[in-house]
């Protein structure tokens, strides 16, 4: 009995370990290639660590490429998108959770509908719409598009968090003398912080790594975001893997920082969301 339990535990741990290794290995490889001098990249083949590590690619990327601009653009776009979407989704999610209003089920249906298409289908019409408005080749245009595509899911996510907070609380606050909005701001919002953090994180990463629209709507180098920028390391005749990987590692930093900041709320938030579905 106990031996069987022990065996099962060991198997379980091994499985988890294998999974983690599988998930993290590409990240490790990213790091490894980024510190491998170009001269060693092919000669040393698939060694786990180069015989000589260097930061030459990082220096190059930071000083001689447009990467800092891409980086800044991505930060602006992702952060704005995350903040706007979370703001809109909180209010919309609250309304979905608490109010019965005319057309509610139609609105929910439409929101769901937007999630059903592959985005590729929408690129041409999007371009047609944004171009006369002067929103192609601009960060604001990208923000508008990202907000539009992220609001529906974020709304459902926020709604599930609000559903998890008893109605009694805001009713008590309203009887205590608060307006509905004050009750929302002072009682409900603080309790939804995990949900807000989860939504922020989710939208931020989605926007940070979005490639398709960024590629199609932006052609000007000054408004290029980082995923598109990565492609600039691919030239007609060669791919500069070292520089590309160095840029990739740098691009991970803000996402990591962001998650570090919100992780306190996040674990709580994602599980809460998971249970409520």
């Amino acid at each position: 009995m106990t031996r069987k339990r022990l065996l099962l535990t060991v198997l379980h741990r091994l499985a988890v370990l294998a999974y983690v290794a599988f998930a993290l290995f590409p990240l490790f490889w990213l790091l490894k290639v980024s510190v491998t001098p170009t001269s060693l990249l092919y000669t040393e083949g698939i060694r786990m660590w180069p015989s000589r590590a260097s930061i030459e690619h990082y220096v190059f990327v930071l000083t001689h490429s447009s990467f800092p601009t891409f980086f800044l653009n991505s930060t602006i776009v992702s952060a704005s998108t995350a903040v706007i979407v979370t703001l809109v989704a909180s209010l919309a999610g609250y309304a979905m959770s608490r109010f019965i209003f005319r057309g509610k089920y139609w609105i929910i249906g439409l929101l769901l509908l937007t999630q059903m298409f592959p985005l590729v289908m929408l690129i041409a019409p999007m371009f047609k719409m944004l171009s006369p408005l002067g929103l192609t080749n601009s960060l604001s245009g990208l923000i508008v598009v990202y907000v539009a595509f992220n609001v529906p899911f974020a709304t459902f996510l926020m709604q599930s968090f609000f559903d998890g907070i008893p109605k009694d609380l805001e009713e008590a606050a309203m009887i205590d003398g608060a307006t509905r909005f004050t009750a929302f701001r002072q009682i409900i919002l603080p309790l939804t912080l995990p949900g807000i953090a989860a939504t922020l994180g989710f939208v931020f990463t989605a926007a940070w790594s979005e490639l398709l629209f960024a590629l199609m709507l932006i052609s000007d180098n000054r408004a290029t975001t980082f995923p598109v920028g990565l492609l600039s390391f691919v030239s007609k005749f060669s791919v500069d893997f070292g520089q590309m990987m160095a840029a990739g590692v740098l691009a991970l930093i803000p996402a990591c920082l962001f998650f570090l900041l919100i992780q306190r709320y996040l674990v709580q938030g994602l599980t809460a969301g998971a249970v409520k579905g």
Partner: protein, 355 residues
């Protein structure tokens, strides 16, 4: 403090009518208890007074002012929820002072009010804690404290004790009564626990199916229930009912025996009635005598102080509450008297009380 007047109020959720034509006046300082079975609309009525539900028809006045369109925050009432609804992210003190802070009361006044309320409820050592770190009983006290801290016009309670264990409930019940004596605020209290209703109420409002069945002081409802519903609802163990027809000043159940009617009761000859008798009013006699019934003991339930004896009589399960532990043995015969003066007679068709 204030009076509350409810005038032909009705409520529907969509097509479902939940309350019909409710009329009730609650005097300043009165403690009114709404009782009734689950789903009869007690909470709905309370929430309409609080302003949490729209009023479909009729009018509610607080202190003479029509409040149908007034937001909850402007009605100046306090409510204690069954779930307590404490703000989880605030300390006990902040929970209690929230309403005062919203009203921009001066800091010193708030501190003083919280201290006074905490003192009344024995919450002083807990003021800095979060609700999560409190026991059920302590949370209940905080909910009470949040209500009394600001001296509202009226208190509304929605089954405030139903999440507590029996002993704590008893203790809090007494405490609520004491508080009401001390503060004297108009209170509306919803419960389906009839002991709470009987002990706390100045007046009980018995509701069923969205309609007020009877309003009166607690002993009135016990002594003279207006209809079959109230008769069966008030009192524990519940009243026994025996169907029969009136003949010559007595009720004849279908087996041919006779139960004498209370003096002065007028019933048409042959009228179908239901006779009610409370378990504590069935008299056990030592031996068969004129007018007594003999029945076989089915089940004996000792409750400590008294004993509930179930017998089969006239094909019905009849409960008898007796203080004599030795009165009955399972399977043995029991002689009982149904005294006319302690009987309640109801028209079987209208279910209304006769006489």
């Amino acid at each position: 403090m204030a009076s509350i007047t409810i005038q032909s109020v009705s409520k529907s959720f969509g097509a479902v009518s939940v309350l019909r034509d409710i009329d009730l006046s609650i005097a300043d300082g009165e403690f009114v208890v709404l009782v009734g079975p689950s789903g009869c609309g007690k909470s709905t009525l309370l929430r309409m007074i609080a302003g949490l539900e729209d009023i479909t028809g009729g009018e509610i006045r607080i202190d003479g002012r029509r409040v149908n369109e007034v937001a909850p925050k402007d009605r100046d009432i306090a409510m204690v929820f069954q779930s307590y609804a404490l703000y989880p992210h605030m300390s006990v003190a902040d929970n209690m002072s929230y309403s005062l802070r919203l009203r921009k009361t001066a800091k010193e006044r708030i501190a003083e009010a919280v201290r006074a309320a905490a003192g009344k409820l024995g919450l002083d050592p807990l003021l800095e804690r979060r609700p999560r770190a409190l026991s059920g009983g302590q949370r209940q006290r905080v909910a009470m404290g949040r209500a009394i801290v600001r001296h509202p016009k009226a208190f509304l309670f929605d089954e405030p004790l139903s999440n507590l264990d029996a002993r704590l409930r008893e203790q809090m019940r007494a405490e609520i009564k004491r508080l009401h004596k001390a503060i004297g605020a108009t209170s509306v209290y919803v419960t389906h626990d009839q002991i709470e209703a009987m002990t706390l109420a100045d007046r009980i409002v018995a509701m069923h199916g969205g309609i007020i069945q009877q309003v009166g002081d607690p002993l009135d409802l016990y002594d003279r229930p207006a209809n079959l519903f109230v008769a069966g609802f008030i009192g524990s163990p519940a009243m026994n009912f025996i169907d029969g027809a009136c003949r010559g000043g007595a009720v004849e159940p279908h087996d041919g025996s006779r139960i004498p009617l209370p003096a002065g009761l007028k019933a048409a000859e042959g009228q179908a009635v239901t006779v009610g008798v409370r378990p504590e009013h069935v008299r056990i006699v030592g031996a068969a005598e004129p007018g007594s019934h003999t029945a076989r003991v089915d089940l004996v339930e000792p409750t400590g102080f008294g004993t509930i004896v179930h017998v089969r009589l006239l094909g019905e399960d009849l409960k008898i509450y007796t203080l004599d532990r030795a009165a009955a043995r399972v399977g043995g015969p029991l002689h009982i008297m149904l005294d006319g003066e302690r009987l309640h007679v109801f028209d079987r068709e209208t279910t209304q009380r006769l006489g």
